[in-house]
Symmetry: C2
């Protein structure tokens, strides 16, 4: 997605340790037209696949997942990282190590909003090591839902997350709107 | 907004202590068409006001704020509750007591994305006691930005938040898409 790639090259900053600062477009500030474009390209890429629902993880996955859901006209559920007071009944929970935050991150989805047999597309902001995405995939397994694809805004291909997801047995189409091949000092190189 | 009111009456559950469970439409699962409608009605209500930016708070404010931002074609910034590793430089921080979570909630916005002189519309999911919204208003004061209005998806008018915001000196138009006048056992009454 060219508009996204342009913004990453213009505004992205390598903070070291594999951390890319693009909070001007994805993790703090959002640009409405860029978001609409992300949803359109994501929906177009998965247009030939039957999608019943989109699953993402709070916080920064919500915006791109919602824009994709609007284009595909399907509901979205976002995994919570802490159990809200309103989450009752059956809860699916998985955990993943967080490289940017340290420790483990829990992901919780209510059984009310993830049904057996549904075809679910996962949409998230980053694909780095793939740990969080694998936890989302496991949530779908737990619910007996069908994982039909993974859509990512920014993939850092040098962290091997795509291969890790496939190696873990989640062999589905993975599409990234922008792929970062390397970050070296001030130089960010797109694939 | 009739479609929202209908869904609240159909799916909302009073969990006691003023807690309304509407996570099927606002805090966990999102309905794409309902979200588009929220953005349209919010934008329409504030159409005569010059808005340069929308401010919301993670997590559940992001979706309605983004939909409003798309209609008004302005950027959105969402206050973070923990400082992300990518948040650098000047940071505006305010804290508010959380009645649903206990303790204090911190709200952080980077000075990069909140500028002096900007006309800012606050959009959030709930208006209850108004504590979180007042903290968002104070963030704008700290940044010397202009608060031009407050848009809320669901107001619980019986908690007096609207009056508290005005009493705190933030005397701007406040618009709620749905207003709950009372919750008594299984009976939710809209204003």
């Amino acid at each position: 997605m060219q508009a996204l790639k342009d913004r990453i090259l213009k505004e992205g900053r390598n903070l070291g340790n594999g951390i890319l600062k693009i909070d001007s477009i994805l993790n703090h500030q959002l640009d409405p037209q860029l978001m609409v474009g992300m949803g359109k390209e994501m929906a177009q890429h998965f247009a030939d696949i039957q999608v019943d629902r989109i699953l993402t993880a709070e916080i920064s996955g919500i915006a791109p997942a919602l824009m994709t859901a609007i284009e595909l006209n399907v509901p979205i559920v976002y995994a919570r990282k802490k159990q809200p007071i309103t989450m009752r009944g059956t809860i699916y929970m998985e955990a993943a190590p967080s490289h940017t935050k340290g420790g483990m991150v829990e992901l919780l989805v209510s059984g009310e909003f993830l049904k057996a047999g549904e075809n679910v597309l996962i949409v998230d902001d980053f694909l780095a090591s793939g740990e969080t995405l694998q936890a989302l995939c496991r949530l779908l397994q737990a619910a007996n839902a069908n994982l039909v694809g993974v859509g990512i805004v920014v993939e850092k291909s040098f962290e091997g997350g795509r291969e890790a997801i496939i190696a873990a047995g989640f062999d589905v189409p993975i599409h990234a709107l922008a792929t970062i091949a390397s970050m070296d000092g001030d130089i960010i190189t797109l694939a």
